[in-house]
């Protein structure tokens, strides 16, 4: 298990030594998708359409509301979180979704961190950590080929 919760980061990595995993991410739509590319925070723009899968909320999509959201961590925040809102006010993040993937097509965008309150709907907006922060925070590489 590896984690990074310093400023701007909120990611965790679990490994097992008895298996090798291909470049796939679960989406429940209907099952998994290949990941062949990745987008760093620098290239994520407000308004971008992006989708995710979470254990509680399942598959869902929304638009990037902010690429400068306050990240959720034990450090001093860091305005690098990617906040996603659904114009239909769908719940994009519920308890248990942390760590789930964000992507569009076969491009990895990041992993779920936390959620934020939207009146009157509740904690429906998602905040995720961009893929390049996942990689740098954990010193890992997101696979984009088998």
């Amino acid at each position: 298990v590896a984690e990074n919760g310093t400023s701007g980061h909120d990611e965790q990595w679990h490994k097992r030594s008895d298996a090798t995993f291909p470049n796939k991410a679960w989406d429940g739509n209907p099952d998994w998708r290949w990941i062949t590319g990745k987008k760093s925070r620098l290239y994520i723009s407000v308004g971008d359409y992006v989708c995710h899968w979470g254990k509680k909320t399942g598959y869902g999509c929304g638009n990037v509301e902010s690429r400068d959201a306050v990240a959720c961590n034990d450090g001093s925040g860091g305005l690098v979180g990617i906040e996603v809102h659904s114009s239909a006010n769908l719940d994009l993040s519920s308890k248990g979704d942390s760590g789930g993937p964000w992507y569009l097509g076969e491009t990895a965008y990041g992993t779920m961190s936390c959620h934020s309150w939207v009146e009157p709907y509740g904690y429906i907006d998602a905040i995720f950590v961009a893929s390049n922060y996942v990689e740098s925070g954990l010193n890992v590489v997101i696979k984009t080929s088998p």
Binding site: A2, G5, P22, K55, V70, G96, L138
Partner: protein, 297 residues
């Protein structure tokens, strides 16, 4: 299904990854394929009226911890009583709700999730924005307490902190009464050997192998042994919850000890509670307890 925990695990601590593994570093996203849940596809539907956005741009036994001598240091405010729409916010002794108020921020620890919000204050009137919370699935009564408080949080509109021994937060049909938190417990500094691992109060396997242990060496550091890997780390408190801020797991495990190693690290790595029950030390999270006995020289 060990990797499923990537989806379930709260995150927000620091671990030095430089020595965690000599194994190939697999893709973070790729491990999610191990999850086998059904999900419902959705797409953007017809927009509804614009919401008011507050986010800005920019069950284990409740008795197995809490008996440790409190440290005489205030760590914020402890929720003593809460009423929302005439209903009491359920409170659990072992999962306290802690509030920290600064000039511009209101944050703390709900029953099992961290929360943050920015605060604008005009005398006793306050406006919270950018309300965020981690999304740990706490389960059972802990979840009920956590949900109730986090739902109340956005409704806070007034603060009375003019008294040293009580702090009141109010809003429409909301009253939250806090008292000074007794602060985090002092952790016992001796070395403890693992006796058993309990999942929801049921013992896992026949018993720990290879004498796992833990020692809190100072007010900030600990060391341990999972039976196959040496642990070195630092910790802090969030209310009464211990959060590991840095941990190295050194070495590698044979297959026969991987599950035990994973269980121990999962409890230590995700925020835990420490308590003494008779002569046993209990270290637990919301689902698993590690029970230790003191190693005497």
């Amino acid at each position: 299904m060990r990797l499923l925990s990537l989806q379930l695990t709260p995150i927000g601590r620091v671990v030095d990854v430089s020595r965690v593994s000599a194994a190939p570093r697999a893709a973070v996203l790729a491990v999610l394929i191990t999850s086998g849940f059904l999900a419902v596809s959705c797409s953007e539907a017809t927009p509804t009226p614009s919401p008011t956005r507050t986010s800005s741009q920019g069950s284990p036994s409740p008795s197995h911890h809490g008996s440790i001598t409190p440290r005489p240091v205030a760590a914020g405010w402890l929720l003593q009583e809460g009423l929302l729409h005439g209903n009491e916010i359920p409170l659990l002794d072992d999962y306290p709700i802690i509030l920290v108020v600064t000039e511009s921020e209101l944050r703390g620890m709900s029953a099992c999730n961290q929360y943050w919000s920015e605060m604008q204050r005009d005398d006793g009137e306050i406006h919270l924005s950018n309300i965020r919370a981690t999304a740990v699935d706490c389960g059972g009564a802990i979840q009920d307490s956590d949900d109730a408080f986090l739902s109340a949080l956005p409704k806070i509109a007034r603060i009375d902190d003019s008294h040293p021994d009580i702090l009141i937060l109010e809003g429409r049909e909301l009253l939250l009464r806090f008292v000074p938190s007794p602060g985090p417990p002092a952790l016992p500094t001796s070395t403890w050997q693992l006796l058993r691992i309990l999942d929801s109060n049921t013992q896992v396997d026949a018993g720990p192998l290879n004498a796992p242990s833990i020692a809190f060496n100072s007010a900030v550091s600990f060391s341990g042994w999972t039976g196959c890997r040496r642990l070195v780390g630092e910790y802090t408190f969030r209310g009464h919850q211990v959060l590991v801020t840095r941990m190295e797991a050194i070495g590698s495990c044979p297959a026969s000890l991987e599950r035990q190693d994973s269980k121990i690290i999962a409890v230590l790595g995700d925020g835990f509670y420490v308590g003494l029950r008779e002569s046993e030390l209990w270290i637990s999270d919301s689902s698993t307890a590690l029970v230790f006995a003191e190693l005497r020289p």
